[in-house]
C-alpha cells in the first residue's frame, strides 16, 4: 500500500444506536488499555516523591508515602553521601547533569546528521537521474534486512580501532550518516512531490541544489519532523550500543547511567525512591518532546512502501 502521511478525513462516526451494550463494553476495554498504559507513569511519580522509609512502611498507599523531593535530590547528586545513605541511597557519585548533557549531545548529533544526510540521499534516489541509481538503492534496501545486532560487534571492533571508545562521537558514528530506513522513508515522500512544482522552480532558474533546500525540504517538513522526533527518541533510548562503547562518566548517557544507578544497590535494599526519580528525569525530556509534536507524529505513523 502507499504511504499514509496524514490521517485521511475519516467520515467514520459510528451512528449505530442498536448495540449500546457492545459500545459500552468496547469503551470499558479501551479504558482498561489506557489505565494499564498510564498507571506505571503515575507509580514512578508516586514512588519518586516518597521516602524509602515510607515505601517500606506503607507499600500499598496510592499516594506518596512521606512526601519528599529527596529522591530527586539524590538522583541529581544534590545530597551529601552521608545524607543519601541515611535515606536509603547508595551514596555513590552520580553526575546526572553530565549524563543528561551527554544524552542530549549524542541524540542531537545523530538525529541532525542522520536526517540531513538521509534526506540528501533520498533526494538523489528520488529526484535526480544517474546511472546505477536503482542498483545502489537496492543495496540500501538490502541493508535494511541486516538486523542491528549483527553489525554491533564488528562495529565495536571498528570503533575501537578508530580509538573512539568511550567518546560521544564513538556512540554517534554508526548511525550518524544514515539508516536505510530513514533514506527509504524520506524517498517515499520526495517521490510524491508533483513534478510541476520542481518544474516551476527550474524555469525560474533555480538549480537542483536550491530546489532541494528551498522546495523539497520545506514541502516534506512533516515527514522530516516525524522521522526526526522518532530518531531522537530512538537514540535517546538506546542502551546496548552506548553500553558497549562507554566506560566512564565522560561518555555515559542516561540509559546506561540508570542501569548503573540500579546496580549500586545499598546494603539495605534498592533505593527505589531515588531510582524512580532518576527514571523520571531520564524519561521526561522525551515526554515533553512528544507532547510538542504528538498530533503530527501520531497522525503520520504509517507505512512507507509496504506492499
Amino acid at each position: 500500500m502507499t504511504t499514509v502521511t496524514t490521517t485521511p478525513p475519516t467520515t467514520l462516526r459510528p451512528v449505530r444506536r442498536r448495540f449500546p451494550f457492545g459500545r459500552a463494553a468496547a469503551w470499558t476495554v479501551m479504558g482498561l488499555i489506557v489505565l494499564i498504559t498510564l498507571l506505571p507513569f503515575y507509580w514512578i511519580l508516586r514512588t519518586a516523591l516518597s521516602t524509602n522509609a515510607g515505601l517500606n512502611a506503607d507499600p500499598a498507599n496510592p499516594l506518596p508515602a512521606g512526601l519528599t523531593t529527596s529522591g530527586f535530590e539524590r538522583a541529581l547528586g544534590l545530597q551529601s553521601a552521608e545524607e543519601a545513605v541515611a535515606q536509603g541511597g547508595a551514596g555513590g557519585g552520580l553526575d546526572f547533569w553530565r549524563y543528561l548533557l551527554n544524552s542530549v549531545l549524542v541524540s542531537t548529533l545523530i538525529t541532525g546528521c542522520q536526517i540531513f544526510f538521509s534526506a540528501m540521499a533520498a533526494y538523489a534516489f528520488s529526484r535526480l537521474r544517474w546511472r546505477g541509481r536503482d542498483k545502489v538503492f537496492g543495496l540500501f534496501l538490502a541493508g535494511m534486512m541486516v538486523p542491528a545486532i549483527f553489525t554491533l560487534l564488528p562495529n565495536f571492533v571498528l570503533i575501537k580501532q578508530l580509538h573512539l571508545i568511550d567518546t560521544l562521537l564513538g556512540i554517534a558514528l554508526p548511525t550518524m550518516f544514515m539508516t536505510p530506513f530513514a533514506v527509504f522513508f524520506l524517498r517515499q515522500f520526495f517521490m510524491n512531490i508533483p513534478k510541476e512544482v520542481e518544474e516551476a522552480a527550474l524555469l525560474d532558474g533555480a538549480g537542483k541544489v536550491k530546489i532541494f533546500f528551498r522546495v523539497v525540504l520545506p514541502m516534506a517538513s512533516t515527514p522530516i519532523i516525524t522521522l526526526g522526533v522518532l530518531t531522537y527518541i530512538t537514540s535517546w533510548n538506546d542502551y546496548f550500543w552506548p553500553l558497549m562503547v562507554s566506560y566512564s562518566d565522560s561518555s555515559r548517557v542516561l540509559t546506561v547511567a540508570l542501569a548503573v544507578f540500579r546496580a549500586q544497590t545499598p546494603q539495605t535494599g534498592v533505593d527505589w525512591s531515588g531510582l524512580m526519580a532518576a527514571t523520571l528525569i531520564a524519561a521526561l525530556p522525551m515526554l515533553v518532546l512528544f507532547a510538542c509534536f504528538a498530533r503530527r507524529i501520531v497522525s503520520s505513523i504509517g507505512f512507507t512502501g509496504i506492499k
Binding site: 507499600p59 537521474r129 538486523p147 533514506v183
Partner: protein, 321 residues
C-alpha cells in the same frame, strides 16, 4: 564507490522541459539515459553511502569473517575455520538460550499482536481521538531500561504494588522476575507494555486504508461488528498485519535491554536470551569469534523466519485491489 566512476559528466545543465513530459519518471529506471545529474547525485549520496559502506556493509562482511576466527580484541584474529560453529552446535548453553529466546518471542509477539490489533480496531471503530492515540503511544517513548526498572519495582516481591494487590486478593506473592518459570513471560509482557502502542498505530494506519463504505454497506446488510471484523477488517488488513509481524518478530528476537536491567540472564540462565549470551561471550569472556558465530546463527534464523513468514502470510498480495 561505483557512483563516482560511472556517473557521466553533465552535458546539459538541467533537462527540465524534456523530463516534464513523463510524469512518472521518478518511478522508472534511468539506465541508458543520462540527464546530467550524476555529479550532483554523487555529492548528495556521498555521506549516506560512506556511512552505509563503513558502518553497515563492511561490519556485515567482517562479522561473517570474524565468526571463522579466534579473536579476543588484543591480538589479531586467528583463522580457525569452522571451530566456532562446531563449538556452538555442541554448546548446551547456546541451545538453551536459543530456546529461551524462542519462548520469549512467542509470548511477546502473541500477546502483543492480539493486544495491538484490539487497540487498533477499537481506535478505528470507536473514536477519532488523536489524544487517545497519543496516550497509547506513551510507553514507546520510554527506554527499555526505564520500562524494565519501573516494572521491576511494580512487581517487586515484597514492596511492589503488583504483589501488594495480589496478596490483598489472598493469593500468594509471585516472584515474577526471580522465578525460573515466571521470568521469561514477565519480561515478554513488560516489552509488550512498551511496544504495543506503536504496533497498534501501525495497524491503525493500515485500517485507515480500508474504505469506510465497506463497513457502511455491511451495516446496511445487518452485519454485526464481530462479523465485520472477521469478514472485512481481517482479510483487508492481512498484508499489513503480515509486514508488522515480520518487523516485530525480528525486533523481538533482539531482546537485550530489559533482560540486562531486570534479571541479567538469571535465575539460573532462565532468561539468558541469545543476544545476552552473545554479549556475555564477547564482553564478559572476550570470545569475539564465538560471539560472531552466534550472531551469524541469529542472522540465519531471522532470515529464514522472514522468508517463511512472507510466504505463509502471502504478504506480497493485497486484497484491496
Amino acid at each position: 564507490m561505483t557512483i563516482a566512476s560511472s556517473s557521466p559528466p553533465s552535458r546539459l545543465p538541467t533537462g527540465g522541459a524534456a523530463e516534464a513530459r513523463s510524469r512518472t519518471w521518478t518511478e522508472q529506471g534511468v539506465s541508458g539515459e543520462d540527464r546530467g545529474d550524476g555529479r550532483l547525485a554523487s555529492l548528495f549520496i556521498g555521506p549516506a553511502l560512506l556511512g552505509f559502506l563503513v558502518f553497515l556493509l563492511w561490519p556485515t562482511l567482517r562479522g561473517i569473517y570474524l565468526s571463522f576466527t579466534r579473536f579476543n580484541l588484543l591480538t589479531p584474529a586467528e583463522w580457525v575455520g569452522l571451530d566456532n560453529y562446531v563449538r556452538m552446535v555442541n554448546d548446551p548453553i547456546f541451545w538453551d538460550s536459543l530456546w529461551v529466546t524462542v519462548e520469549y518471542v512467542f509470548i511477546n509477539i502473541g500477546v502483543q499482536t492480539v493486544a495491538a490489533l484490539a487497540t487498533a480496531v477499537l481506535l478505528q471503530r470507536l473514536t477519532r481521538s488523536a489524544m487517545l492515540r497519543g496516550i497509547v503511544l506513551t510507553p514507546y517513548l520510554m527506554s527499555n531500561v526505564v520500562a524494565g526498572l519501573v516494572w521491576l519495582w511494580i512487581l517487586d516481591t515484597q514492596l511492589g504494588i503488583g504483589n501488594q494487590i495480589i496478596s490483598g486478593l489472598g493469593v500468594d506473592r509471585i516472584p515474577f522476575l526471580a522465578d525460573e518459570t515466571w521470568a521469561i513471560p514477565t519480561i515478554a509482557l513488560i516489552n509488550v507494555w512498551r511496544h504495543v502502542g506503536y504496533t497498534a498505530l501501525l495497524l491503525f494506519a493500515g485500517l485507515q486504508a480500508i474504505p469506510n463504505d465497506m463497513y457502511e454497506a455491511a451495516r446496511v446488510d445487518g452485519a454485526s461488528e464481530w462479523r465485520m471484523f472477521w469478514r472485512i477488517t481481517m482479510p483487508l488488513l492481512r498484508p499489513v498485519l503480515a509486514v508488522v509481524l515480520i518487523m516485530t518478530v525480528i525486533g523481538s528476537f533482539q531482546v537485550f535491554d530489559t533482560v540486562a536491567v531486570t534479571t541479567a540472564g538469571g535465575p539460573a540462565n532462565a532468561t539468558n536470551v541469545l543476544q545476552y549470551y552473545i554479549y556475555g561471550s564477547a564482553f564478559g569472556r572476550f570470545q569475539f569469534g564465538y560471539a560472531s558465530a552466534m550472531s551469524v546463527a541469529l542472522l540465519v534464523v531471522l532470515s529464514a523466519i522472514t522468508v517463511l513468514q512472507y510466504r505463509l502470510t502471502r504478504a506480497g498480495r493485497t486484497d484491496l485491489g
